[in-house]
């Protein structure tokens, strides 16, 4: 039964992911060919169309882990644990994109690959926290213990997310202020805003597709684990 359900999740997730990857190729064309070059930052500014959507979706993924973790501790539903596990892994992959493209943008614009300011340091800390979350899951064999312990770590990670968003207001930081997710209207020319929002949507599609595949993997692995334990 679980193997059949896992196969269905993987099939649907693969279709969504492939659609997302094709759409991402479209974002590359729109961003590189049809979006104007920013005069002060030059072509490096176009990194923004990948870095920001990756960051938004990584934070969304880590928030889902925390919310599912909290709900799991309350409802004790295995589906929530599976979703949290899947979202954490995809969030880490998106985090790698965010932490790779950020320094590549920073070098020509700030003159340095990295600086230990509040926004960057908190983001790196959050990333390592979820790498630790995955390591913790891999280290624990008992499924209910694994689900409970990792749910607590997920909830703690969720507490960091609003701090990261507000860190540019709370601390003196080199990182640019929010230009879209802020109380006033977005401060970006319409062509650039359109490309950014389309890219964010495509990254969201990729996130959903990858999480769906990963959920299928978790189902299949649980099935095998359960049968091996019963044997």
């Amino acid at each position: 039964m679980s193997a059949t359900a896992a196969r269905a999740y993987v099939r649907i997730g693969t279709a969504i992911t492939l659609a997302g990857l094709v759409a991402l190729a479209g974002v590359y064309v729109v961003a590189l060919k049809f979006t104007p070059v920013e005069l002060r930052q030059g072509l490096a500014q176009k990194i923004f169309y990948l870095h920001v959507p990756a960051a938004w979706n990584a934070l969304l993924a880590f928030s889902v882990v925390g919310i599912c973790g909290g709900l799991f501790l309350w409802l004790n539903d295995r589906r929530l644990d599976r979703l949290a596990e899947s979202s954490a892994e995809v969030g880490v992959a998106l985090g790698v994109v965010m932490l790779t493209t950020g320094p590549i943008w920073a070098k020509p614009i700030w003159g340095t690959w990295w600086t230990w300011d509040a926004r960057l340091t908190l983001t790196l800390f959050l990333f390592f926290l979820f790498v630790g979350y995955l390591a913790l899951r891999a280290a624990l064999h008992d499924p209910s213990e694994r689900a409970r312990f990792s749910a607590v770590v997920g909830v703690l990670g969720l507490l960091l997310v609003p701090f990261i968003h507000l860190s540019v207001y709370l601390f003196r930081t080199l990182h640019p202020q929010p230009i879209v997710l802020k109380p006033s209207a977005p401060s970006l020319p319409p062509e650039m805003l359109r490309t950014l929002l389309v890219s964010a949507l495509v990254f969201l599609v990729l996130y959903i597709g990858l999480v769906t595949i990963r959920y299928g993997v978790a189902l299949a692995e649980e099935e095998t684990e359960g049968r091996l334990d019963a044997a």
């Binding site: 679980s2 193997a3 896992a6 196969r7 993987v10 997730g13 693969t14 992911t17 990857l21 991402l24 590359y28 590189l32 070059v37 920013e38 005069l39 002060r40 930052q41 030059g42 072509l43 490096a44 176009k46 990194i47 990948l50 870095h51 990756a54 992959a93 790698v96 994109v97 790779t100 493209t101 590549i104 943008w105 070098k107 020509p108 990729l206 990858l210 595949i213 990963r214 299928g216 993997v217 299949a220 692995e221 099935e223 095998t224 049968r227 091996l228």
Partner: protein
């Protein structure tokens, strides 16, 4: 005149494609293996 820093842009776009495509392929292969194993366990 905008600064000449197109190389950084190319590097970021290539890195993003490699990371996302690499992860997607790895996950799909892992899914296939996990389902094959679960099916084997079920039929055993």
């Amino acid at each position: 005149m905008p600064p000449d820093n197109g190389g950084y842009m190319v590097a970021a776009y290539v890195a993003t494609a490699v990371i996302l495509l690499g992860y997607a392929v790895m996950l799909m292969r892992r899914a296939r293996r996990a389902i094959e194993r679960a099916s084997r366990e079920m039929s055993a």
